[in-house]
Symmetry: D2
Subunit: 436 residues, 4 copies
């Protein structure tokens, strides 16, 4: 029985590029085969709970703009919210969803009550999932909204907050496992500092390392088969966050011996805030072997905060999926829309249309990327560019079989004077533009 | 016999804060004791060769503004340049200097000739150093200006460029050792990419790892006792550089097993370009155990490129030295002015005055930082803030003796509900302002 | 009768630089004479209502951290809030305060009720002001928090919103006049756009021009003698705001013929968001004749949003007051702390200490700036630099008495070949450092 | 007779989207009719002289990478350069070109000699233009490279530099007129400051106003029928440039009464440096009536300096042409490629391919924009959004026929309580994505 929130908006269908139906897919065709796999199985779209069903439309200078019948702090409203959410997942045909504990149930007076409520809602979800609803891409704990976390969760100077956060993550991992979640995510929105004047960074990094190690241990203990994912972000809400970007997270994982246990969930908007392109973060995570999943929402290039907008630029998205495909595509990961409507987009139809637009942009990007892969459009020139390294002497140099002295002697002996060759950037950009 | 370039400007003396002599130190007093050590031995100032004696004053939209009698590509002019340089070191009473191979000799037609010229100039330097000139803080190779390096040195797709760069570093390390250099620095200005379209990042990181490993091996081979330092910078000249910031370098060192062999040389301006404060980079390097040396030149906060200006903000510099002192002060490292005059500052006196200003700002910063250390002005509140972690149960948690389940059970059992305490940021800022 | 909120914190006194009393002024000495005027009369400090008494400590990822007895939406609580506010003004000895309508009374069900409530609170204020409380530096209307303004106030596509905003400003101007306000401020937080796709910029600028013209007309109508001030900000909350920076506001005023009627209220943090230094915005406003008042709160240089922190860097603040003094100092304007505590600074004492720190920093900046003015430290070199323009032929050129042809003929005839002279930037920076 | 520089690369032809010829247009079809006009006449492409034929490939950390037979400072080489340039214009079928005086002739020992050389080269150009070469979109003077301009041209503290610059502009305007130039451009790369400490901004703005007024006077004097265009840029090379952005230039023009005489040449990269999107600057210039011409080269979003890359993102370019078409399209203006190869793109074919790619991207953007215009895809929703303003009472309000009091009385009387409507941003973005 429908909640009626979305009126008569029915399931969104693929109608092809020429459709003028605002509520149809023009590019996302789940069953279409791309590089030998269904498009749905490549993209693995997930719709998030928080921006769509929890956020009231406020910003730092304004209050609530959305008026939703489920806003409020009771369990009944939480169930109504879930009903609407699963209706939307169904309308969009989204194969996955994602949530924080805080999104789905009102916080209890005590830790125990909060956990109990979470479990009740999980039961409600389970019913819907068994009735044909989407799967859970990942679950996570909100360790940033409540004032107890204002100075950090794992990195709090107060060990009781560390403990409270640890207990909360345990509960969320339990629920994620029960719901068949394919990953468990940690975003450390408060794991950082406002000022170094009151912060012992070395100590706090050790706290964070310990916390993450416990999470990994618990995963093995309970036999959770999904991936543990950390989500980098450089700043906001804090001045500096310890999971600044992919490179920082990698160094952190190495420091605490976790690089084979934990991967990253990369968000386009966070990449931009860190001064990187999205494809940079993806390529780096791929090169380091820690590419897990993505949040495909973009930030505005002229705004210095997290705008979490739906993706709308196909050339950019194509380069992102190119990196993902080039590193083997998703395994447990997927494409999550951690995107929110602009606060002026008040209508239910805006929620649906925004996701359709995002899904179509991703589908176009994926198809362009796949075609570039098939054609070797970028990989062939790349192989040619580095071909010199296939020479035995050069291989030996790279393998560590030559010392600085050996090499210096050879440079002198052979009177090496290497001549540069064109990097061909513009010609490669032109090639990409044939595909997007 | 003087070159006459600086006219009658004599050695700069300490005259105290009330002096109105533009060419005196008002705060830098080398023999003054700070925290039990001479100020000179704390700060370990170095004057760089390149910005002062090589840079012609050009910028991306304009050509040469400086007219120096030593500009030109002959060995005689290189010796004249050295004579002027050592005169300036002497006038300033700088205890150290720094240089690239490219700064001090014209490049030869061949690798061998370039090395020969470098050695000739090193002889010239050696004479001056033995006659009472400054010591060498560090030497380095310029692996970025010549067109052969346009696509990288160690990370070049052409292995011959890798080899040429390796041979060049060997020569520079030899000279650095001969001159008693206390460190050897690598700044990878071209180790990065312009576009991912023509770049295999994983491969290039491996090349860079190999290169740095060879440098470390050679250091041990020749018994060089100084530190090997990598200098992070996020971008410029390339779009993205592999040594982006301290955290990135740390992860890189861990990846290639070099974290105990290599430290960082941190530049304020590079920190800013990477989206960090200078004290952040220092504090992080300190926490990770890789803090080596600093370039104290600042960037303009409103400009998006490397402006390399002399430091002029005492409160900022004080926080930087606070981090350095808090992590034990310099050992082989020091305070290098990788700073350049504005291109409109045409006169010889500008060179001298700019360094005096920078040295005085650093001296004020150091003294303020030392006083804060002595008073426990920041460390006492810090200890108090984390005091909860001294409790046995909390220590156990941090040592890894508690699992998520243990902790969750305790949270539930003790009905933990931690109450936040003030972070006191403004009050700590007020404390700092008593010292600067 | 005290509310007790501040416990036993009494009036803050000047105790001089050596005091170690956290709750004393060490530099702000209201009666000290600077450039022939009392320090208080130079600085004209104002404490703002909103950040101190309304903001709950939330940020984009977290909720309320402050727990204040006056939080809530009743008139009784509004009166309690006022009582605490005036207690704080009194403790600090602040000569002025500032407020929005929205800060001081709960919004009514109707426009009329909102106005009625505003007037009731104004009566309450009036009693306190007559009993020795501070004066009103400026009043303003909050045209950004309520959802009706989500798409703009004056620039809303819905003319009813324009009307509602106009009516609201009228009410706030009436109250400001009644309370003897010395200025009336407009900050157009929603006057801008989220996307050009739904925006007619030309039309919206005309709406804004009309709105401001009506405000000016009304000022004259009611005989309000204060200044009308516009507060530039480039973005946040919107993607682009029409009052981007001082230069933009000036062009806008010229376009609508308001440049002699309206001045600017410049905020340091907004300057930084616009890519300018604070002193740039002040110098430009001074040069254009529209410098009105300042908000002295700073932004963090590494954060891309409005952090509204208390000023803490004396050299920066000194350069700001230098510009203000060089353009004649404040007339109706003053120094407003539009600054908020960090959300972790929970304690009442944090509110007091933060203002003390800011006031002391400003006092130090003012004294340094005044001394530079007295000494001609910067103005003498400046006069010398432009001295060539005092020559008759050059004066004629600048007055418009020479054409391009005249000048070209003279260049050719006199074979002009101007030789550049040093800009002396570093030496001037050193001079400043003698004062700060 | 060909110089042979481009080998056997012949004229580039349109071959349609499916062509796999790297040296063919796939989208730019000059004779194709778009909105009733030939595509060539819409886009009015111009190729610039400086980046293609003068720039040696240096960057702030590296020297020359390009080796061109015409590099050098003789008139013979200048003629060879011209021959190659016009060959490239011909190969590309570019209808226009653009140049600075400094690009086309070596500077003479004296002003007179420089002018003489400029005229000689202009004769050479004239021959080529009469023989079927492209037309001149605009000419301009380089008032930034020579050290005499290091502290500004019009805004120099030395009036002789002002005079020298004025004389130079006269000579360039003369040549531009002689060659039938359709515009004359002023980019004030040095009209700004490095530090406020040595700058009198008010005085310098007056100098700049006087200079521009003389240019306008001279235009009328000689009967030049083209437009005078100012090119905004916020910074680089200086810390702050007076022509910061479109809004700043507009205010400047108003201040000196030039708003009907001068328009702007807007560059995408400069817009980005100023914190704006390209379409913002275009829309604003359109709204203010000063939209003249464009430089279509983009900047990298992650780099803080002017990267001058060829455009490669069709959705972005489409929104730019949408603004241009919506404001009536170009009259004297056009689309200039002020774009440079990456310094690693060494080969002649890179020069050709880069322009082909840029021209195709613009053609795709133009066609998408034209179709949106034809369909009213964005303008119909826009009209509907503002429809309330067509009501008589609202028109009266906007025309200035209502006072604040009138409006407040009506709000109270009618108990106005406006209800917000969805801004529909995501749905409009989806519409755009149907076209690009």
């Amino acid at each position: 029985m429908s909640t009626g929130f979305f009126g008569n908006i029915g399931p969104v269908k693929y109608e092809g590029p020429d459709s003028d139906n605002e509520l149809a897919f023009r590019h996302y065709n789940p069953d279409e085969i791309v590089l030998g796999k269904r498009m749905e199985d490549h993209l693995r779209f997930a719709v998030c709970y928080w921006h769509n069903f929890v956020w009231p439309g406020n910003d730092p200078f304004g209050g609530q703009t959305f008026e939703r019948p489920w806003f409020g702090e009771t369990m009944d409203l939480a169930r109504l919210k879930a009903d609407v959410a699963f209706e939307m997942f169904d309308i969009l045909g989204a194969p996955f969803y994602t949530f924080h504990d805080h999104d789905v149930r009102p916080e209890g007076e005590t830790y125990s009550e909060s956990v109990k409520r979470l479990n009740e809602i999980a039961d409600h979800f389970q019913g819907k999932m068994e009735a044909g609803g989407p799967k859970l891409l990942w679950g996570t704990a909100n360790l940033f909204s409540n004032r107890r976390y204002m100075a950090g969760a794992a990195t709090n100077p107060d060990p009781d907050v560390f403990a409270y956060a640890a207990a909360t993550v345990k509960a969320c991992m339990d629920v994620t496992q029960r719901l068949g979640g394919q990953n468990y995510v940690l975003w450390g929105g408060r794991e950082g500092y406002e000022t170094l004047l009151n912060t012992d960074m070395g100590r706090e990094l050790d706290q964070l390392g310990r916390f993450l190690s416990m999470v990994v241990d618990y995963k093995h203990k309970i036999g959770f088969e999904g991936a543990i994912l950390v989500e980098p972000k450089p700043q906001e809400p804090t001045k500096h966050q310890y999971d600044f970007d992919v490179a920082t997270v990698y160094g952190f994982l190495k420091r605490y011996g976790l690089e084979n246990e934990v991967k990253v969930n990369i968000e386009q908007g966070h990449a931009i805030l860190a001064g990187h392109s999205f494809e940079h973060e993806l390529a780096l995570a791929g090169a380091l072997g820690i590419l897990g999943s993505i949040d495909v929402n973009r930030n505005d290039y002229q705004s210095g905060w997290d705008t979490d907008q739906f993706p709308n630029n196909v050339p950019e998205v194509a380069l992102a999926y190119y990196q993902i495909l080039a590193h083997g595509g998703f395994t447990t990961g997927g494409t999550n829309f951690d995107a929110k409507l602009r606060r002026q987009s008040l209508d239910p139809v805006d929620l649906i249309a925004a996701h359709i637009g995002g899904m179509d942009v991703c589908a176009r990007g994926l198809k362009a990327a796949a075609k570039m892969i098939e054609d070797g459009a970028l990989s062939n020139p790349l192989d040619e560019r580095y071909a010199g390294w296939n020479q035995p002497e050069n291989k030996a140099m790279l393998k560590g079989e030559r010392s600085l002295e050996d090499i210096a002697a050879r440079v002198e002996r052979e009177n090496l004077d290497p001549e540069p060759r064109s990097g061909r950037q513009e010609r490669l950009e032109n090639i990409v533009n044939r595909y997007v």
